[in-house]
Point group: C2
Chain length 425, copies 2
């Protein structure tokens, strides 16, 4: 696809061409510095490099071509929106979370300054007209997982066609019942938008597609238990990030191919870092593209990241949907059961997350945990305090980091992370 064809497509999507050009330039440079500079990368990562280089290009072209045939595009911000339903309705499911500051001044006219960078970012990207995914959406689906997003959708809903799902705050039977009603409401909204009825057949197929995607990511996660670490945390994060953008079956196949290579590497005793390199679990808020700051800092501090305990990570991958049901009702119940297992900080008390983090530390042979809370993210900031308490009782070291998307604190973060890694000796 030529540059001119790209530009023409972006113009049709009403992007601000010059601002978008600026974004791609920064993104490209950032990717070069943080990703392409890595040594010992596996061949399979070329797929990821390609996807990322064409994330606003060929992938958008594919989406536009699909739209031309009548397919609809659904944008989401959260792992609580069941991708299985979207795919069953023959629609495309994409993540819209953004990991860079853009349009922040304008965004702060719509949401308070004390709002986390992720929220300001998706609003800023819309206002600055630099996100071709957002511009491709026929419906944007929000949820009530935190005060910041819940209230931001009221403003965002004036800019895009919006559907908000209520995610409950406890896991009582009645709360699950409310979530089931919301899953049904989403199903109906999809059927109305796409004109496609969700049936036992198409839902069975999509449950399988998404389960296979999650299984590939689980396989990748398990392989990272090896010492030396066979893949960098940056690359693994990128894979999880791309899982929100790319066509799911192609993605699954590519990740399984990559996992084959990782298995070979492990069999040969190879790795991306020397054996014995300090191993860190990254835990907390999701990191959207191109929010690679903290992983880069961590992996430039004589350490390797062996797991992402995050929505763009294990929280989206841990549980599969039971595929044994053969009625719509039974399949929806299976979806509700699976989604209500998610250990998001939006729940109270969410003690299962405390257990899950410890299990990941054990399973992945991590030496310590770096907890990442986006500044002004209240749910994860609270759980950082709770987790520190729980881990310290178990003798697991944890560093608590609060940061946003600005690069101003990189040196300060580096000093703190280096000191933490040294302390692990």
């Amino acid at each position: 696809m030529s540059d001119a064809a790209h530009t023409e497509m972006w113009e049709k999507l009403n992007l601000d061409i010059s601002a978008h050009e600026g974004l791609l330039e920064v993104l490209g440079k950032f990717y070069g510095d943080i990703y392409l500079s890595q040594e010992n990368r596996l061949n399979g990562m070329e797929y990821l490099d390609f996807v990322l280089s064409e994330v606003h290009g060929l992938r958008i072209k594919e989406i536009q071509d699909a739209k031309a045939t009548g397919k609809k595009v659904i944008g989401t911000f959260c792992v609580f929106v069941p991708e299985e339903l979207t795919l069953a309705a023959n629609a495309i499911h994409v993540g819209l979370c953004s990991g860079a500051d853009a349009g922040t001044d304008e965004a702060e006219k719509l949401v308070p300054r004390n709002t986390c960078a992720l929220i300001k970012s998706f609003i800023g990207f819309k206002l600055a007209r630099i996100c071709p995914f957002t511009e491709s959406c026929d419906l944007v689906v929000g949820e009530t997982t935190c005060d910041g997003k819940k209230k931001a959708y009221e403003a965002f809903g004036k800019l895009v066609p919006m559907h908000v799902m209520e995610v409950p705050q406890t896991k009582t039977t009645d709360a699950k019942q409310l979530f089931k009603a919301e899953v049904l409401r989403y199903k109906e909204a999809l059927e109305e938008l796409t004109g496609v009825k969700i049936t036992v057949e198409n839902l069975r197929k999509s449950i399988s597609v998404v389960n296979e995607k999650r299984k590939a990511l689980q396989r990748l996660s398990r392989l990272r238990a090896a010492d030396p670490a066979p893949i960098s945390g940056r690359d693994a994060l990128l894979i999880n990030q791309v899982s929100f953008y790319d066509e799911p079956e192609r993605f699954t196949q590519s990740i399984n191919t990559l996992c084959d290579q990782i298995e070979e590497r492990i069999a040969q005793g190879g790795g991306v870092v020397p054996a014995g390199t300090k191993r860190l679990l990254l835990s907390g808020c999701p990191m959207a593209v191109p929010n690679w700051k903290l992983p880069y800092v961590m992996e430039s501090s004589n350490a390797v990241i062996v797991g992402e305990e995050s929505c763009i990570g294990s929280r989206n991958v841990r549980d599969l949907v039971d595929d044994s049901a053969d009625t719509i009702e039974g399949m929806l119940d299976a979806l509700v059961d699976r989604y209500m297992k998610i250990d998001c900080a939006c729940f109270t008390p969410n003690d299962e997350r405390m257990v899950n983090v410890q299990n990941m530390v054990k399973d992945l042979n991590a030496d310590g945990v770096v907890h990442y809370a986006l500044s002004f993210c209240q749910p994860y900031a609270h759980e950082a305090i709770k987790l520190q308490d729980v881990l310290s009782q178990k003798g697991i070291p944890m560093l608590s980091v609060e940061t946003g998307y600005s690069m101003e604190d990189v040196e300060q973060l580096k000093t703190r992370v280096e000191a933490f890694v040294e302390m692990l000796d």
Copy 2:
């Protein structure tokens, strides 16, 4: 009650006597400066002065005496906890929100620094052992109305016996169903704690008691439409604050007596300020005792406050419970209907609040609105932006204030409020 008897009681409650002494001293001085210095106060306010002077004394004595007879005490932080059920179970219902910085350093070990002052305050008061209400509680009831409180209760629940109610985030039929289940769960918790079965008879009585309290406060609110304003906003706020502490029937009677005096004053054309004084509606977050900073600033700026659009104000008073049901089921439905009308910023989209504010401006003949958001309160900070937009379209001036409990910004607030009031001319 002698000073020694007070002190003995506080010692039994395990208060930190010297820290508590310090609190009372500050509170007394503050009350003198902000309340007792006012001119043209009605005789009926003596009841309030007395209640406040004895809020940690005689009222606690009453509560302790009641406990000695087997009564239980329920502490709450939110107007979503149905007082009707508490009273039906023959228990005492008190508010535990605090309006002063105390124990903040200790509180910040349990909750993030970026937490609103109200939350840090109730935790700080507990940790510093200076709140005899908290120490008197047999059960503390939290709710999930904001991320800050929802997650803070996880830490607070380790310090006190805690029950958390889920308040939904939308007002769909299914969300109301969840709230109904939570109301039932609270009823059962009360019955277990008190050993009192909630019946048609005792619930009918308590619905009437609470309705009468709300009617007295509605009557007060209506009288404030008069020009000149018959009562200061500070005094009206105090009345609303005391409604969370005092015995409800005594409170209702006292407020009705005060309203009689206000009616006389209005009939004589009298007021607490000259006719034509600029009239402000105070809107937003609740103000707990002794958080009188902003009302004092406003009423020291050639203006009078004519309404509090707040949980400690109209949000707790606007709606009555339909008392026509004659089964427990029907009465619980009536409670759910009433509580789910509350226009809290925890709901999305909560457009009814935008309408209610405009109605209050009209009904109370306000010249402008001062919106108050506690720093780090995300729900009200979002709605401040939304409300400003709605009001500006209607030509209603609004000043948006964000502040905490510190006195550091008093002069800055005064400058802003004075400029706003001048602009109303």
